[in-house]
């Protein structure tokens, strides 16, 4: 049975998350940085009075840093943790994927990419990386006292 995925772009790669997990898509918003938080936490945004944690997906997945002046979009998803915003480069369309076209990640892919991506759908013109939302949100908060990468810099 085909199901719908909301696609987005990260560093020219096509990713997707299940449509029913997406609450809304909002434009770039300045986030308040949370110093001492793990690197992949982009900060906090105000979503109509609700405070939502934004995750820098590029950092989380281990892709290259975004350009300084880039204005990422927020995909607000519903998670067990409440609403969480995912920072992505661009929003794509909603596509129907065929489970038949799904394939787990090749063994050669390791690191954060492996833990956050469940596999790929072979679309006609591209490979669609399926984001494992639950795993993506498993961000081990650096215990206080440990320096995050940013601090050490």
């Amino acid at each position: 049975m085909a199901h719908q995925m909301c696609t987005f772009v990260l560093d020219r790669l096509l990713f997707a998350v299940e449509v029913e997990r997406v609450q809304e898509v909002i434009r770039y918003q300045d986030a308040t940085p949370v110093l001492t938080a793990p690197d992949s936490i982009a900060g906090l945004i105000n979503l109509r009075g609700q405070i939502v944690t934004a995750i820098d997906l590029r950092r989380r997945i281990g892709l290259r840093e975004r350009e300084q002046d880039a204005r990422p979009m927020n995909i607000v998803v519903r998670a067990a943790e409440g609403a969480v915003s995912l920072l992505v480069d661009e929003i794509g369309e909603v596509v129907e994927v065929d489970p038949e076209s799904f394939e787990p990640l090749p063994e050669t892919i390791t690191g954060s990419m492996r833990t956050t991506t469940s596999g790929v759908y072979k679309l006609e013109h591209a490979l669609l990386h399926a984001l494992d939302l639950a795993a993506t949100l498993q961000i081990s908060a650096a215990p206080d006292g440990h320096l995050s990468k940013r601090e050490a810099d």
Binding site: A31, L35, N46, T53, I55, V84, D144
Partner: protein, 776 residues
Amino acid sequence: MNECGESADSRIRTKQGALQSRLDRRFSAETAMEELDEIFSEFLIEANEVLDQFDRDMVELEKDPSSRTLLDGIFRGIHTIKGTSGVLGLDKLVSISHVGETLLCRMRDGEMRLTPESTTALLAMSDSLRQVLGAIAASGSEGDGDFSALIRLLTSLLDPQHTSSEPAAPSTDLPAANQSMAAAALTPAQDPPPETAPPASVKTETAREQKDLGGDALGNTIRVDVTLLDKLMNLVGELVLARNQIMQLTSVQTEPALTGAAQRLSHITSELQSSVMKTRMQPIGTIWHKLPRLLRDLARGCGKEVELITEGAETELDRTILEAIKDPLTHVIRNAVDHGIETPEQRSRNGKNPAGQLTLRAYHEGGKVNIEIRDDGAGVNLDAVKRKALERRLIEPGEADRMSERELLSLIFQPGFSTAQQVTNISGRGVGMDVVKTNITKIGGTIDLQSTPGQGTTLTIKIPLTLAIIPALIVTSASNRFAIPQVSLVELVRLEGEAAAHAIEYIHNTPVYRLRGTLLPIVYLDQELGAAARQTKEDGQAITIVVLQTESNVFGLVVDEVNDSEEIVVKPLGNLLRGLSCYAGATIMGDGRVALILDVMGLAQKARVVGEQRTRTTETVVEKTQMDMELESWLLADLGGARRVAIPLDRVHRLEEFPASAMEWSGNQSVIQYRGEIMPMISVAQLLGMARISEPAATMQATVVSRGDRRYALLVDRIVDIVEQQIVVDPSRKTALCAGSAVIEEHVTDVLDVEGIIDASLFHTAELLTAQAGSC
């Protein structure tokens, strides 16, 4: 007039029964389910209230068995429960309350007297009734708890010849199960879930939360669902935010009509906010109500007599806070009865009233509520605390003797101090005082313990009135805004120009600021949060220090700027950020952006991890002050790098100057020939972990000290002065080498421990010591 009704009119009963089945259907058909639900929940609230009052009155009655008023009230309460239960078709409640009612009726009519045994039985009845109410609340049915043992017990008490040793005969005095109108209709349509209630013989307190707001269906008060109040509170929070935004936008406006309207909006919002806050306030008495009963059970359980005195039961607190302190308070009281108050025999022996006194006092003070729990028991046995702390390895053997009374007492709050092993079944349940402290701290409260041996213990809990909207100071640091809860704020210090340049001094690399003679540890907020390396401050650049207090520390937080004081709405951080101890939450500012709320306690703890030891309390400083205030003579010396030390003059044998060339080495110890002996030379700077002085001077300044028949030269950079003055030693900087630090002639000065210095130099090479002194 006999109301006990053993001779009920049987004809009337029969007629009733005949009518019932026909009419049950009718009632259920015409009454909508939600109306029944409403009546039902009304009943649960009311019955629980009645039972709480029943417990209190029973405990009172035990003290004053002749009180007609109490007995009337007690009887009426059970009578009401039985009556309404009957109408609602709750047969179990009817059968339990019926025997109790009969017993109470006998007492009221003077046919029987209240005995401790019957009090216990009646209280057990109230527990059982609560248990059934709990089952109804949870599952909609009365459950299948078996209360026949209790009913037999109560029935046996009705027998004037009754002796407790004889098993009582089963009751034949119960009314036939009432097939009342609503029995079927009031049970929710779905099948009742299987009963999970514990057996009746277990005395469980089904701590069903009451929605009581002190209101009533009549008169000037109404009952409001708490969830509605919570929603209202959230909305007001949002309104406060919107108001703040509007105020910010209009602050740059000149249109008088608009600014006027904004002002009005602001006032109304504040009014509304405080009114809504008030609706959430409940007197602390609402959680004290259950205490007389608790105390009675506790006291009986451990063979003690305790008298409860409460003051300030009308003191109001936000219900969230009340909820949060309920369990800690209960635990503290358990502790007081279990460990604090002695047995009547012990008390009599010590010339005390056999009955111990437990005083609960609540009062407002400086925007906070103080709750005092005082007992007149034996006080905390400090030796036992010491032993236990050593056993549990909370402290090192040597440490115990150096600790002040207060520090020893604070060990009680350490995690791991009390463990399941030695917790009795009363204060037990595996909770220690550390959990109490954690819970109190979580809601922004503090806890303080004072104890006088033989006279008792006083525990003071200070808690904020409310949590949802708090006044806060907004500061900027590392280009970010932060909110600091006003409750932690002591004062603001702003230093400009010359004052700023030399304001921050260092003790062993730890920045401190001298605030009116006391050393204030300094924490740089940006550094603590790991922001980009601090730019070196230009001379004369202003420094802003926010002086903050936690329960045990005062410290100065250096920020870039203090912006404003504002009422902020506290919002929780998402689960992803739960683990960060520096933040207590977040809030939305007037411009719509998010600002983090600093957790002052967490910040202090984090700073301590990376900085020097700052565990001692300010109270300790004050305490020690009294002892160390002696007029003494001190030799002051510079060690270079603005580091100054003081040496007690009575330890100084001579002051000498040696040419550097006279220094020789013996093994890895530098020595000098002095008056026919080889005298070790100790570089104080090196011992204290300071960088080596690059180029030794041609002459060396030394203070010669002696121990036993040996002499030692303590090398310093320069002898400054000899002063005679009272100095206040801050013991928090005490190490093996320093007795602490003090402010002498306006300089932060390390007071050297000559013995420690000599010891250190004897057993270690200077190189080794450099490393060790890092922890000094």
